[in-house]
Symmetry: C2
Subunit: 173 residues, 2 copies
């Protein structure tokens, strides 16, 4: 199965696509970070996020999309923009009829490092090892997007949802 992971944000939005199955090896397909300058009007920044996510869905045909679940405990200065960007990501996924996985940072950390309190360097190290990369994906948003995608593959929940959707009459593509 193929998963698009998105670490939502306005200044930097991480996008990562991986192929894999629970318990098997996982391969990197693509990773990138979309940036919009802080001075850009909010609408244009959200449009840039939408274009990127929509384009990646059309290009990479993921079976599922994983996005960070945003909480208000995040950095107060940036959390509203992050939440607005995540809304746009969820909207793009549902427009394509794709199942969504939403995970807290702790769930992602626990999935890839075994510890829900791991730091960003530890997550990046495990993403690098699991995908057999030569170097750590930078910036952290790229690494976090891949970690989200790996989390979705391993939790296998996407698969379960795909099967349930297929059983219920087919998955829209």
């Amino acid at each position: 199965m193929r998963v698009l992971g998105v670490d939502p944000g306005l200044t930097r939005c991480g996008l990562g696509v991986v192929d894999g199955l629970p318990g098997r090896r996982i391969d990197l397909v693509a990773v990138d970070v979309v940036r919009t300058p802080a001075g850009t009007p909010l609408g244009e920044r959200l449009l840039a996020v939408e274009h990127a996510v929509d384009g990646w869905i059309r290009q990479h045909h993921p079976d599922s999309v994983a996005v960070e679940r945003v909480f208000s405990q995040h950095n107060v200065r940036t959390v509203m923009g992050t939440a607005q960007a995540s809304g746009v990501v969820v909207l793009s996924a549902v427009r394509h009829g794709l199942p969504m996985g939403m995970y807290t940072p702790s769930e992602v950390k626990a999935a890839v490092t075994g510890s829900g309190t791991a730091d960003k360097a530890q997550v990046a190290a495990m993403v690098t090892r699991l995908l057999r990369l030569d170097r750590r994906p930078r910036p952290a948003d790229a690494s976090d997007a891949l970690a989200l995608a790996i989390c979705e593959v391993w939790r296998g929940s996407a698969q379960a949802r795909l099967k349930a959707a297929a059983a219920a009459g087919g998955v829209r593509r």
Copy 2:
């Protein structure tokens, strides 16, 4: 000028359209509240908000859209959904090439009641009086959406932006 005001939310999203000019009388064009049940998947709730805002823009052809500026000081339990919904509203407006006005609750209260600390009942009373309605718009989200639209008309900023956009090469419609 015509303004669509949106009080963003997932459980209830207020929509209000008014016609008016700064310093002149203001007329109600339409008001409604879009609701989605709490158990509905997030993607479908955001899609419902998008459909409503997009449909109202197509139907009522506003010159500008006003939306509440969401802060993390809001109710923590619901603020993330509100922020995600507001992102979808901003995205719909920018897709139609419409200028946006974003106002804090205090700015809206100050615009329609003269006091930034007015309560919801006072805002509803003034909206009712300013639009010469027989009764207060209910629920509060409907009244708040109209207050946002009135605020945008009165601040005149939308007009200024329209003129600036026209001077800069025309406003997309």
